[in-house]
Symmetry: C2
Subunit: 159 residues, 2 copies
């Protein structure tokens, strides 16, 4: 058993879950601030050298979990929760990659937030590597994208 406590809180434009862009083609370019608590600020030294960060945070509004999720990106089709980003997980941990725009003391201005305002931050790590696009398979999400394009096409696909 691990006990985790917030190292800070997210300031985000999203006050309720439905305001957060979701589903296929959702743009995650909202700007926000990671406000780190004064007692942890020393841990931010040299972070401004990194263009992107991992933010690990807590789904503080989620209660309980389901092993099967029905993500909006796939029109309600069921998938195992570990193959989705559903908030109702056995451990309510969220993970977001953000772009670091700047630092003001213990506040990090970032782009790409998809958390609610007030979300507790558990950890920050430098983002270091990328998987080349040609080596990446994206499972049911890629299939959902194909279905979505086919459904919205007015006639035969011309691609």
């Amino acid at each position: 058993m691990f006990s985790m406590q917030p190292i800070g809180y997210v300031r985000s434009p999203f006050r309720v879950t439905r305001e957060i862009p979701k589903g296929l083609g959702a743009k995650h370019d909202a700007e926000g601030v990671l406000e780190i608590l004064p007692e942890f600020a020393e841990g931010l030294a040299d972070i401004e050298g990194f263009s992107h960060l991992y933010v690990i945070w807590g789904f503080h509004r989620a209660e309980g979990f389901d092993l099967t999720a029905t993500p909006p990106a796939d029109g309600g089709r069921p998938h195992g929760v570990f193959a989705t980003r559903s908030p109702r997980r056995p451990n309510p941990i969220g993970l977001t990659t953000v772009e670091l725009l700047g630092r003001d003391g213990a506040s990090l201005r970032v782009k790409g937030v998809d958390m609610l305002d007030g979300t507790p931050i558990l950890d920050i790590k430098p983002y270091l590597s990328s998987i080349p696009a040609e080596q990446l398979r994206r499972g049911w999400l890629a299939e959902a994208e194909v279905r979505s394009r086919t459904a919205s096409a007015p006639g035969p696909a011309s691609e």
Copy 2:
């Protein structure tokens, strides 16, 4: 305060910390198994469609934390803990991207483990996106790589 419990455990070739490749140019191609507990196995449905996964895990051997870390990759130079992957973090959370090689029931065979054998797994998520290499800045780590190349060059750099 969040309480987290393991959803499974890592089987890895590494029994002690010093066996894990670290520092500049360390190769993370070790294979291992993510053994998910039977009561969470249903949450793995459809995961085999993804080539890469995020594994969020607990540093179960770490005790306490430091706000300043001295990563081996940078010859003992100090950096804020949130600008490093040091295990001695305010919340002992580890994050590893692995390649999914195959699935046998509730066991996922993966490549790229850098955890100790027996490490508790807290969450698994699909890896979906990459930051293009040309948009990525890697802070002190990039500087350490330059220093390392310069130090090991026998004469003028010939690229």
